[in-house]
């Protein structure tokens, strides 16, 4: 305990520490994406800094009575949802609001509360290789974004590449689904050259089979296979 005593007696602060410092002038928006074969879920955690709290809270508390009603909470969560976009293989997906939660105002205004918004989208069809594009355009002027994908729980799905812009408001993700290796997805995955080669190979096999069959018939004819009338 001598260290503690020494510290107590002689503390000298190098730089004045901001008292109670928490996120000040940014609106942190951390998204975690969960991938399933036919569904994508995004969990967004939003934390307004002290300096931007009035701006954010005015967006939530539309009637300015200082209280966030459940209707206001849901409406705000829906606006967050509307500011998100999700594409799978270049096709826009419809994001649905699943749930939302909000900390008490007293915590939010001190930079210590958070808003949670959970959204989801169905992913139609199946493909061996897929590309997901996610974008968050909510409060871009003050937004500080994070976006990450969870390792898929399904071992047949694998993330193969991730790309983000500098502020992480835009995210591109490539992934594979081993269970989607159907004929259709093979064809989809193949190039035209692959398909042409496959057709050519199939044609060669059929031709070879026909030539062999014809040769076999000729051989039998040359041997003079007995006809019905030749039997004794």
């Amino acid at each position: 305990m001598s260290i503690v005593r020494t510290l107590l007696c002689t503390l000298v602060l190098v730089t004045a520490a901001p008292a109670g410092a928490h996120r000040l002038d940014e609106y942190l928006q951390a998204t975690t994406i969960a991938l399933e074969k036919t569904r994508v879920e995004a969990d967004i955690r939003l934390v307004p800094g002290v300096d931007v709290f009035p701006l954010v809270f005015a967006e939530i508390d539309r009637d300015a009575d200082g209280v966030v009603s459940s209707a206001e909470q849901r409406a705000y969560a829906q606006r967050v949802c509307d500011d998100l976009s999700l594409k799978v293989d270049g096709i826009p997906m419809t994001l649905r609001l699943v749930s939302s939660a909000i900390s008490p105002k007293v915590l939010l205004q001190d930079g210590r509360g958070e808003i949670r918004v959970q959204v989801e989208a169905d992913v139609p069809g199946s493909a061996a290789r897929r590309r997901l594009d996610f974008e968050n355009r909510h409060q871009t002027r003050i937004g500080a974004y994070l976006v990450n994908v969870l390792v898929p729980a399904d071992p047949e799905m694998q993330v193969t590449a991730q790309h983000r812009n500098y502020d992480q408001s835009s995210f591109q993700l490539d992934y594979t689904d081993a269970s989607a290796l159907s004929f259709a997805s093979w064809v989809e995955a193949w190039s035209w050259i692959d398909i042409a080669l496959a057709v050519l190979t199939l044609g060669l096999i059929v031709s070879a089979w026909r030539v062999t069959a014809k040769a076999r018939r000729s051989h039998h004819e040359r041997l003079g296979a007995p006809s019905v009338g030749d039997h004794p």
């Binding site: 305990m1 260290i3 503690v4 020494t6 510290l7 107590l8 002689t10 503390l11 000298v12 602060l13 190098v14 730089t15 004045a16 520490a17 901001p18 008292a19 109670g20 410092a21 928490h22 996120r23 000040l24 002038d25 940014e26 942190l28 951390a30 975690t32 800094g49 300096d51 915590l107 001190d110 210590r112 509360g113 500080a144 974004y145 994070l146 990450n148 994908v149 969870l150 390792v151 993330v159 991730q162 983000r164 812009n165 500098y166 502020d167 992480q168």
Partner: protein
Amino acid sequence: MNTFPLKVLRDLAAFAVLCLVSHAVTAQTPTAQIVGAVNTFLSTLDDAQRKKVLFAFDDQQQRQRWSNLPISSVSRAGLSMGELSQPQRSAAFAVVSAALSRRGFEKVQQIMEADELLKKDAAKPIFGKDLYFISILGTPSEKTPWMLQFGGHHLALNITIAGDRGVLTPSLVGAQPALYKVNDKTIRPLGQESDRALALLNALDDAQRKQAILSYRVADLVLGPGQDGKTIQPEGLKASAMNESQRTMLIDLIAEWAGIVHDSAAGPRMAEIKSGLNDTWFAWSGATTADPGRNITAYYRIQGPNLVIEYAPQPLGGDPSLHLHTMYRDPTNDYGRTVTGK
């Protein structure tokens, strides 16, 4: 004539007893020492205090009641240091000391001392050493699993003890101010975490740095409080692409967190981390330099099969090198689930 040998015999007997006691103490297993310290601490408490400090081992709410935030925003349960008398407080610190390594305990003291500095500047009484809490989940035992929690602002130690195993995940270690002076000596509670990471980055060649340095900004912890059991897709440079010297530097850096717990528990944990080292990733985002003696302002993450470490300076309008949050996890073994089954 007869008194002399009797006195010698008595002294020898006393010495022998002392040796035996001393041997018994030093021969105790670390778990026995922690259990002994907890029982001593509990014996100093009255009934009401004991009720406050004890929880069921499988109390999920209490397990997850930790944060980087001060208690005014995330309330803690258990007994705060401010509620304890001086002997009780000493007994509580003896418990924490027994559960941690020497460096781990020193780190905890420095983090609390930093928070004491915040208290002096704060308008509200939401900081300071009095606002760190101790709690015990389950019955302290050398055989059956139980848990010790100690934390407050910028500190959350969750230590699951199961026989001779000690699991420190998930734990949060932060500091503000992350640099201060005592008797002209600079104290950086998380200085090694900064310096060793920067040294590793500087030891990488251009191609490795290109892999390790992310092209985007990371504004905060990704797997902080409330993110138990999650595993994000790793990024950066894989340790399998590092040379032996770089891998040693990475291991030394990881040890800053894995070595907070007492040495007997840290050993097997480091062995586990080393066995998964080839699949461990190192990713960096932000400035690649730091002034001598100052902390880095960059974010970095180390992620392996049984490991997530995040180092996240907080950009709060001030100097991010002075306000640090770090996270230490094993997503496969949060709260020691693999050793306790709960």
